[in-house]
C-alpha cells in the first residue's frame, strides 16, 4: 500500500485515479503518526517551492521522510523538494539528494513553463523505467528544473538545456513530469514504482 504525503500543495485526484487504474491501494498521510503504516511513499506537489516546503515542514513529516529506507517517489514539485535548494524564492529544501533546482532562463526564446510532452532519455537503467522504451514521451509542466548530475540523474530531457527529468539516490526517486497525466508510459512507471 502506497502512502501519499498530503501537505496541501496541489490536488491529488488525478494521482489517485491513476493508482486506482493500476490497482494499487493507497492512503493519505497528513501527520507523522500515519507515516509508518505504508510500504512506499509518493510526494506530489504543484506550486511554489518555498511555500510547499513550509507546508511540508508544518506536517512534521520531514525527519521521517529523510530517514525512511522504503521506496519514495517525488513527483514534479515533490521531486524538487528532495533537492538541496531551489532558485524559486531561494528556498532551502529537504537536501536528501544534493542537487540544485534552477530556473529556466526566460530570455532564451523558450516559452516558460515548459509545457507539454517531451522525450525522456534513460541515462542509468533501473527498475523505474523497466518496460518503458527509451525516449518515451511524458507530460511536463514546470518553470524550474533540476541540474544534471552523473551520480543522481536517472533520465535526461532537453528543453533549451538538458536537465534531470528524473533522479535517484538509494531508495529515493523523483520525476519532473506527471506520470499520472502521461498516458501508458506514465502508468507503467507508477506500476514499476509499486513493485520496487
Amino acid at each position: 500500500m502506497t502512502g501519499i504525503v498530503y501537505y496541501g500543495a496541489g490536488n491529488l485526484f488525478s494521482l489517485q485515479c491513476s493508482l486506482d487504474r493500476i490497482g494499487e491501494k493507497y492512503g493519505l498521510i497528513t501527520s507523522a503518526e500515519q507515516f509508518e503504516g505504508f510500504e512506499r511513499y509518493i510526494i506530489p506537489g504543484v506550486g511554489h517551492a518555498g511555500a510547499a516546503m513550509q507546508k511540508l515542514e508544518g506536517t512534521g513529516l520531514i525527519p521521517l521522510i529523510r530517514e525512511t529506507k522504503k521506496p519514495l517517489l517525488g513527483v514534479c514539485l515533490g521531486m524538487q523538494l528532495l533537492t538541496a535548494q531551489s532558485e524559486e524564492g531561494n528556498s532551502t529544501l529537504c537536501n536528501i539528494i544534493p542537487l540544485r533546482t534552477r530556473r529556466f532562463i526566460k530570455d532564451g526564446g523558450l516559452k516558460i513553463p515548459h509545457t507539454g510532452w517531451n522525450k525522456v532519455r534513460v541515462e542509468r537503467a533501473g527498475p523505474l523505467y523497466e518496460g518503458i522504451p527509451d525516449d518515451s514521451q511524458f507530460y511536463f509542466v514546470h518553470s524550474y528544473y533540476i541540474e544534471l548530475n552523473s551520480n543522481f540523474t536517472l533520465t535526461s530531457t532537453e528543453y533549451g538545456i538538458t536537465f534531470s527529468s528524473s533522479i535517484m539516490k538509494d531508495n529515493f526517486f523523483g520525476v519532473q513530469f506527471h506520470p499520472e497525466k502521461s498516458g501508458e508510459a506514465g502508468e507503467q512507471l507508477l506500476k514499476n514504482f509499486t513493485r520496487i
Binding site: N11, H114, G116, N118
Partner: protein
C-alpha cells in the same frame, strides 16, 4: 525537444457532447468520457471540453464531467465555458482538470486573470480568444464571434500575458468552419515573441493544414473539432504525416 500537441475539442451541453460524432467504435457518441477515452487511445495529446450548458446546474455537471474524465483518462485536459468564479475553478482542479479556460469573463473583468493565476498558478489558466477581422483590425469577439469588444486581439494578448495567463487558445472566427486552413498570418504574428504557449484553432480541414500551421507559425499546439469527430482525420495518421514532415510529435 518539446512535441507539438494535437488537441481535439469537445462541445458539451448538460454533460453530453453535442455536434455529431461519427466514430465507428463508440457505443454512445454523446458520452464525452467515452469519446475522450477513444481520443486518448488514438494518441491525442490533450483534450479541451467546452461547456455550453446554460442552466444553474452547470457547476455540478462540469465537476462530474471532470472527475469522470480524470478517472478514465491519463492525459491532460482543459475545461472551459462560462467559468467566472474562483470557486468554479477550485472544484474543477480538485476534480482532476489540468487547466481551465477563461473567455468572456476575462474580457468583462481582466483582473480575473490575475486572481486565477495567483490562486492556482499560471499553468492552470488558459485564455481563450475568439478573434475576427473588422475594418482591417483583429478584434476580440464574445458570444462565439457575434459580439465585438473594444479590444484589439494583439493588445488583449499582451494584457493577459502581463496578468499571468499561462497559455493562449486563439480561434480565428474568419477561418472557423471554413476547413480552408488555420489563420497562419495572424498566428505567426501573435506567436512571435509570445512568452507562453499558443494553441491554434479554427479552419483545420485536412492534415496538410496542421503541418502548415506548425511550420509557418511555430505555434505549440493545434486544436480542431469536426475533422476529428467525423473521422475525416485520424490522429495516428495525422501524427505520422507530421512526423514525416520533420515536425516533432508524440506517436
Amino acid at each position: 525537444m518539446l512535441s507539438k500537441r494535437i488537441i481535439p475539442c469537445l462541445d458539451i451541453k448538460d454533460g453530453r457532447t453535442v455536434k455529431g460524432v461519427n466514430f465507428v467504435a463508440l457505443r454512445d457518441a454523446g458520452d464525452p468520457v467515452e469519446l475522450a477515452w477513444q481520443y486518448s487511445r488514438e494518441s491525442a495529446d490533450e483534450l479541451v471540453f467546452l461547456d455550453i450548458t446554460a442552466t444553474h446546474e452547470k457547476r455540478k455537471t462540469l465537476a462530474r464531467l471532470a472527475s469522470d474524465v480524470a478517472r478514465q483518462i491519463s492525459i491532460p485536459f482543459t475545461i472551459g465555458g462560462g467559468i467566472s468564479e474562483l470557486a468554479d475553478a477550485d472544484i474543477l482542479l480538485n476534480s482532476g482538470a489540468d487547466k481551465i479556460s477563461l473567455n468572456s469573463a476575462a474580457v468583462r473583468d481582466p483582473s480575473l486573470v490575475d486572481r486565477f493565476a495567483d490562486a492556482f498558478g499560471s499553468q492552470f489558466v488558459v485564455i481563450a480568444i475568439d478573434t475576427k477581422r473588422v475594418n482591417g483590425k483583429n478584434i476580440v469577439h464574445l458570444n462565439g464571434g457575434r459580439l465585438p469588444t473594444e479590444w484589439e486581439t494583439e493588445s488583449w494578448i499582451r494584457e493577459v500575458v502581463e496578468r499571468g495567463a499561462g497559455e493562449i487558445l486563439l480561434t480565428s472566427m474568419d477561418h472557423d468552419g471554413t476547413k480552408a486552413g488555420f489563420d497562419c498570418d495572424l498566428l505567426k504574428k501573435v506567436n512571435k515573441g509570445l512568452p507562453i504557449p499558443l494553441i491554434a484553432s479554427g479552419g483545420a480541414g485536412n492534415s496538410e493544414h496542421f503541418s502548415e500551421v506548425f511550420q509557418r507559425t511555430g505555434v505549440d499546439a493545434a486544436l480542431a473539432a469536426s475533422v476529428f469527430h467525423y473521422g475525416e482525420i485520424a490522429i495516428p495518421d495525422l501524427k505520422k504525416q507530421l512526423n514525416n514532415n520533420g515536425i516533432e510529435v508524440r506517436v
